[in-house]
């Protein structure tokens, strides 16, 4: 291998994950679960799984129904598979959109500084002070309950964290020599921001994106548990966990909610372990030798 060549950020990222056994295992577990779920879900018909069979309600796990059935006779295992897929897709989309907004706003605030930064930071500060969860819940009741609105509401209240962290790192980038040099050469601000600063903070952005997928899955579960999630026709992990809202079901029929809770736990931990390894790749001082 050519010693003088600088490894690309992607290579560094792969190396960090590969070197960290825990992160590597997490990555494998995560993708195995995900691919398995997606293949299995492709073989299922959502409306068929969601159909109620009142004669076979509340069955314990058996050979026919691996995780039993819920009170309306639906196969809990199939619901879990579809739920995992849907919850992951929702989290991925919401996290991606909030990240894009966060990147644009954070970069602009950090790069321009001054008044732009002031206004943006006042807004973000304000949004962290107010009871976001309550606003989200109220909005879900005011808007028609569709999956698109649900995603929209989460996005509106979710971008601030990303914007805050991106702003922090781009503040530091903005005063560096390469930015000054580029300005002297007459590059447009947009070009400097997205072509020159952004690649430098890309790994940092990826870490935040990964972690925000995990956070969004948690928020979705919490909201669905409280009864303000995506439409109830759409099976999600939150919907399965919400079975635990009934104390009797929670106590006597743990197969309804416990597997979903454990799936969330495993997914979230895997995402965080991988994110931690990518984070080390993003920061040369923390890399493992």
């Amino acid at each position: 291998m050519d010693v003088n060549k600088t490894p690309s950020p992607f290579r560094v990222m792969c190396r960090e994950i590969y070197k960290d056994k825990l992160a590597f295992c997490s990555l494998i577990v995560f993708f195995t679960v995900l691919i398995g779920v997606f293949i299995w879900a492709a073989l299922l018909d959502t409306s068929e799984v969601m159909r109620q069979h009142l004669l076979r309600g509340n069955l314990p796990p058996s050979r026919e129904f691996w995780l039993g059935t819920d009170s309306t006779g639906r196969d809990t295992f199939n619901l879990l598979i579809l739920g995992t897929r849907n919850s992951f897709i929702i989290a991925l989309i919401v996290a991606s959109i909030t990240s894009v907004i966060g990147i644009v706003v954070g970069l602009a605030a950090g790069y321009y500084g001054g008044h732009v930064d002031n206004v943006v930071m006042r807004l973000i500060d304000f949004m962290t002070m107010i009871p976001t969860l309550m606003f989200i819940i109220t909005m879900t009741v005011l808007l028609p309950n569709t999956i698109r609105n649900f995603g929209l509401i989460l996005t509106v209240f979710g971008w601030t964290g990303m914007a805050r962290s991106i702003r922090m790192v781009s503040l530091r980038q903005g005063v560096m020599d390469y930015v000054k040099a580029s300005k002297t050469l007459g590059s447009r601000n947009i070009v400097i921001m997205f072509r020159e600063v952004l690649p430098n903070i890309l790994s940092f952005t990826i870490v935040n994106l990964t972690l925000s997928i995990a956070t969004t899955m948690g928020i979705e579960t919490g909201l669905t548990f409280l009864g303000f999630g995506p439409p109830p026709t759409m099976p999600t992990l939150g919907l399965a966990v919400a079975n635990a809202a009934n104390p009797l079901a929670m106590q006597l029929r743990p197969w309804l909610w416990l597997p979903a809770a454990l799936v969330i736990l495993v997914m979230v931990l895997c995402i965080n372990y991988v994110g931690q390894a990518i984070g080390r790749a993003a920061d040369a001082r923390r890399r493992r030798v």
Binding site: D125, M129, V141, G218, G222, P247, M250, W257, I271
Partner: protein, 320 residues
């Protein structure tokens, strides 16, 4: 210093204004108004129209906004049509429960977080530090709801260590010694659940602050004077390292309060978070709006207080 504090207090005005505008606009889009709960089928539409006119509901939006703010400042938050009582009474009933829960959760949080942060910072890279870092990793990653459910299932149902329903055993007479003990028992598991996840941020901040402070000149001076390690860490370094904790207190308060909705729901705890969920589900928007306003004010004022505390406690900020 006074100038800075004054400036910080003045920021409060636009913040509260923005908060009230948002809630007012949101309330405007909510179905129903002050009359919804009072209307019965025997009243004709014309009479309703007259009542609307009398109550000023047909006036322009900005006039109604000022009316709304004025009545709130006078302590009139409207009636809850679900409970058929003034909102203030309904909330007042639940308020002490949530305050108790948050208070106990806060005490647990700091009781757990401060020793952990100090130990992790002092014995960096040792076994204790590694264990604590792993713990904070879990605490940040795991969603509150999953952790709470697992706790309830494990410690409530399976092991039966703690009661998991309500805020007190309803069979006990109010005011007796057993009543207060039962109340405390009902608080432990929900408060501990919130605290165990809430500590992570504080531990991380404290740890990195201690590590940052270790190499500063004043620590070298204290060491050179011959002060024992215990004094160096617990007195000199801890004082400086704990400043960001003070700054984060307002933020921690908001976090704690927003977590109560989920926790109170799981534990069927009769507090404000549960009340909020119930009133939204029952379309009792006058109660819901008042709760949002209350939580909003707590958040805005809490952040301001911790900022002011920071200005008083840390002279470096005053100079800037």
């Amino acid at each position: 210093m006074w100038k800075m504090i004054l400036r910080r207090v003045l920021i409060l005005i636009p913040q509260l204004f923005a908060l009230s505008i948002i809630i007012f606009v949101m309330a405007h889009f909510m179905p129903g108004d002050a009359l919804t709960g009072l209307i019965d089928p025997t009243i004709s539409p014309e009479d309703i129209e007259i009542m609307r006119e009398q109550l000023g509901l047909n006036r322009p939006l900005y006039v109604r906004y000022f009316d709304w703010v004025t009545s709130m400042l006078q302590g009139d938050f409207g009636r809850s049509f679900h409970h058929q009582r003034p909102v203030v009474d309904v909330i007042g009933e639940r308020l002490p429960n949530t305050v108790r829960l948050s208070l106990v959760a806060t005490i647990f949080t700091y009781l757990i977080a401060i020793p952990m942060g100090v130990i992790a910072g002092r014995y960096r890279e040792k076994i204790a530090d590694r264990a604590i870092i792993n713990y904070t990793f879990f605490a940040i990653a795991i969603p509150l709801i999953v952790f709470a459910l697992l706790n309830v299932y494990l410690f409530g149902f399976t092991l039966r260590w703690f009661p998991i329903q309500g805020s007190v055993d309803p069979r006990l007479a109010t005011g007796t010694f057993a009543y207060h003990i039962s109340r405390l028992q009902h608080l432990i598991l929900p408060a501990l659940t919130m605290a165990l996840l809430g500590t992570a941020g504080i531990v991380n901040i404290l740890r990195s602050e201690i590590i940052d402070n270790e190499n500063s000149d004043y620590v070298t001076t204290v060491r050179a004077k011959g002060a024992p390690r215990r004094i160096v860490y617990n007195r000199h370094i801890f004082r400086n390292a704990s400043l960001p904790l003070v700054a984060g207190f307002g933020f921690a308060l908001v976090n704690l309060l927003s977590g109560t909705a989920v926790i109170e729901r799981i534990f069927s705890f009769p507090g404000m978070g549960n009340l909020f969920v119930q009133s939204i589900n029952g379309r009792d928007f006058s109660t819901a709006n008042t709760l949002i306003m209350m939580y909003g004010i707590i958040g805005v004022v809490g952040t301001m207080l911790s900022d002011i505390f920071m200005i008083v406690a840390d002279p470096r900020i005053r100079v800037k």
